[in-house]
C-alpha cells in the first residue's frame, strides 16, 4: 500500500506524491490553502486542475468531513498562462 502511495504523483507540476499529501494532512494541515502554501500543490502552471480535487477528497476522507465542507482556494487570474510579451503588447494597443 505505502509503496503505491509513494509512487502515485498527485500534483504533476510539483511532483507531489499521495504519500506526501497524506503526511501533510496527518501533520495537521487540513485545509487546501495551507497545503498549497506549504508544498506548492496547485500552484504550478496547470493551476491545480488535477491535484486540488484529489487533495480535497483526501482531506475530507482523512478528517471525516464532507467534501462540500472543504474550501477551495481562491482562483486567481489569469485563467491560463499568458506570455509577458503578449501582455506587454496589449498595453500599447
Amino acid at each position: 500500500m505505502s509503496n503505491i502511495e509513494d509512487k502515485t504523483i498527485i500534483c504533476r507540476c510539483e511532483d507531489i506524491t499521495l504519500a506526501e499529501l497524506r503526511d501533510m494532512i496527518k501533520e495537521g494541515f487540513t485545509t487546501l490553502d495551507e497545503i498549497k502554501r506549504i508544498s506548492r500543490l496547485g500552484m504550478g502552471p496547470c493551476r491545480g486542475s488535477n491535484c486540488l480535487e484529489i487533495a480535497a477528497r483526501e482531506i475530507a476522507r482523512m478528517t471525516g468531513r464532507g467534501l462540500a465542507d472543504i474550501k477551495m482556494p481562491t482562483n486567481r487570474p489569469p485563467n491560463s498562462g499568458i506570455k509577458l510579451g503578449v501582455l506587454a503588447g496589449e498595453e500599447d494597443e
Binding site: 502554501r37 506548492r40 487570474p77 489569469p78 498562462g81 509577458l84 506587454a88
Partner: protein
C-alpha cells in the same frame, strides 16, 4: 461553537503572520512558553503570504539596516536553529538596485556610506559589472547601481511555518480560524481578548495584525498613524536559473527576482494609491507590469504568467515599523507598520519584541517606538517600492 481550550495566557499575539510567529517563538525560546497566537484565517494568509519574498539590507535608515542585517544572519542559520522539516529556501544572490538619475545615485551613495558603516557588504557597481551580474539587462537610462551580495530571497510560508512549528514544540498555542472581536482594558492595563471562540484573560497583548493593525489597535482605544495600501504582484511559470539577484529600482518602480523554484516574482508600487483594504488584483497591473519588466529584462517576454494577487502594505509616516509598548496602556505591544518590508526583518523583530515584553536587556538600540511621531523624530526611509 469551537471554543478554545485555553482561557488565560501570559501573552496573546494577534496575527499569525511571520511577525506574530517569530515573536511567539522568541518568547518561548526566551523562557515564556504560555503564549497564544490568534489568527483570523490560516498562518501567513495576510501580508506575509502575499509579499515579494525578498530579503534586502540596502536601506536608507540605521534602524532598517540593522534589523535587516541581523535578520540575514538569522535566516542563514534558520533551517538548523528552527529544526525545520521543510527548507526555507533561503537564497543569497544579491539585490541589484538601479539608479536612473544623478540625484538617485547621490541618494544611493549616502545609503552606501550608512550601510558600510554598519558592516553591510553593499557596494557601487560599474556599468561593466552590472552587465556581468545580469548580462541581458536593458541599461537604457541607467546611471549607476549598487549591489549587496548577501541580500536575497526566502519562502515566506516556510519561514512562518518554521517559527510556528518550533513555537508550538516549545509550548505556544496557535488558534487559526479565530477572530479577535475586542480587547478589554481597565485603568491603563490590558485585561484580555474577546474572540469568536471565547475570552482569554491576559495582561499582555501584541498587535501583529499586518494590514489590519489599525483596526486591532482601535479595539484597545489606540489610534495608530498607519494606513493600508494595496500592492499587486505576479508569478510566472518556473524555468531554469536565469537571473541571480533581485533587480530593483525605486524610480523605474519595479522589483523582479527568480526564486530557487525557478518562478519569477515581480511587482511595482502603485502610483498615488488610495488607502484601501482591497486585495483584489487588476488587469491594469498585469499589463503595466508586463510592459515594465519586458522592457527592462526582454528575455522574460516568453515567460507565462501563472498567477497574480495582491496584499496590503501597512505604512507609517516614515516607512519604518512601530515596535514596542504603547505609552499609557501597560501590556499593549505593537509590531506594526512594516511599510512593505516586514518579512525580511521579522527574525530580528521577534527577538527584540520578546526582549521588550519580558523586560530583558535589548540586543540592539531601538528608536522605533510609537512616541517618535509625537516627538517629531521622524527619519524617512527613502528606499521603498
Amino acid at each position: 461553537m469551537r471554543r478554545m481550550n485555553k482561557n488565560t495566557a501570559e501573552v496573546v499575539i494577534i496575527g499569525g503572520g511571520v511577525t506574530g510567529c517569530s515573536i511567539a517563538y522568541n518568547l518561548a525560546h526566551q523562557g515564556c512558553r504560555d503564549v497564544v497566537i490568534l489568527e483570523k484565517s490560516y498562518l501567513a494568509s495576510g501580508s506575509t503570504g502575499r509579499c515579494g519574498a525578498g530579503i534586502r539590507q540596502q536601506w536608507g535608515t540605521e534602524m532598517n539596516c540593522i534589523l535587516s542585517r541581523e535578520s540575514v544572519k538569522l535566516f542563514e542559520e534558520m533551517n538548523d536553529t528552527l529544526n525545520v522539516k521543510r527548507d526555507i529556501e533561503f537564497k543569497q544572490k544579491g539585490y541589484l538596485l538601479l539608479a536612473y538619475s544623478e540625484r538617485e545615485m547621490n541618494q544611493f551613495e549616502k545609503n552606501l556610506a550608512l550601510q558600510n558603516s554598519l558592516v553591510i557588504p553593499s557596494r557601487r557597481v560599474s556599468m561593466d559589472e552590472i552587465r556581468k551580474i545580469v548580462s541581458y539587462l536593458n541599461l537604457e537610462g541607467v546611471k549607476g547601481a549598487t549591489f549587496c551580495p548577501t541580500d536575497g530571497h526566502a519562502n515566506p510560508f516556510r519561514v512562518t511555518q518554521a517559527y510556528a512549528g518550533e513555537a508550538v514544540r516549545l509550548g505556544a498555542k496557535i488558534y487559526t480560524e479565530t477572530e479577535v472581536l475586542d480587547i478589554k482594558t481597565r485603568g491603563g492595563k490590558i485585561q484580555g481578548v474577546e474572540t469568536d471562540r471565547g475570552f482569554i484573560s491576559t495582561e499582555n497583548v501584541v498587535n501583529a495584525a499586518g494590514g489590519y493593525a489599525f483596526a486591532v489597535s482601535s479595539m484597545a482605544g489606540i489610534k495608530l498613524p498607519v494606513k493600508s495600501e494595496r500592492h499587486e504582484i505576479l508569478v510566472t511559470e518556473p524555468v531554469e536559473p536565469l537571473l541571480d539577484p533581485m533587480v530593483m529600482s525605486f524610480s523605474y518602480n519595479i522589483y523582479c527576482q527568480q526564486t530557487p523554484e525557478g518562478t519569477f516574482i515581480m511587482g511595482y508600487g502603485p502610483e498615488d494609491a488610495p488607502e484601501s483594504f482591497s486585495i483584489r488584483s487588476s488587469r491594469y497591473f498585469l499589463r503595466k507590469m508586463a510592459s515594465k519588466v519586458t522592457s527592462l529584462l526582454p528575455v522574460l517576454s516568453n515567460l507565462r504568467v501563472v498567477r497574480q494577487w495582491a496584499g496590503l502594505y501597512n505604512i507609517t509616516p516614515d516607512n519604518q515599523p512601530i515596535l514596542g509598548e504603547v505609552p499609557g496602556l501597560d501590556g499593549f505591544y505593537l509590531a506594526v507598520g512594516f511599510s512593505g518590508h516586514g518579512f525580511m526583518i521579522a527574525p530580528m523583530v521577534g527577538i527584540l519584541m520578546a526582549e521588550m515584553i519580558l523586560g530583558k536587556d535589548l540586543s540592539m538600540e531601538h528608536k522605533l517606538d510609537l512616541g517618535r511621531f509625537e516627538r517629531g523624530e521622524l527619519i524617512l526611509e527613502p528606499s521603498v517600492v
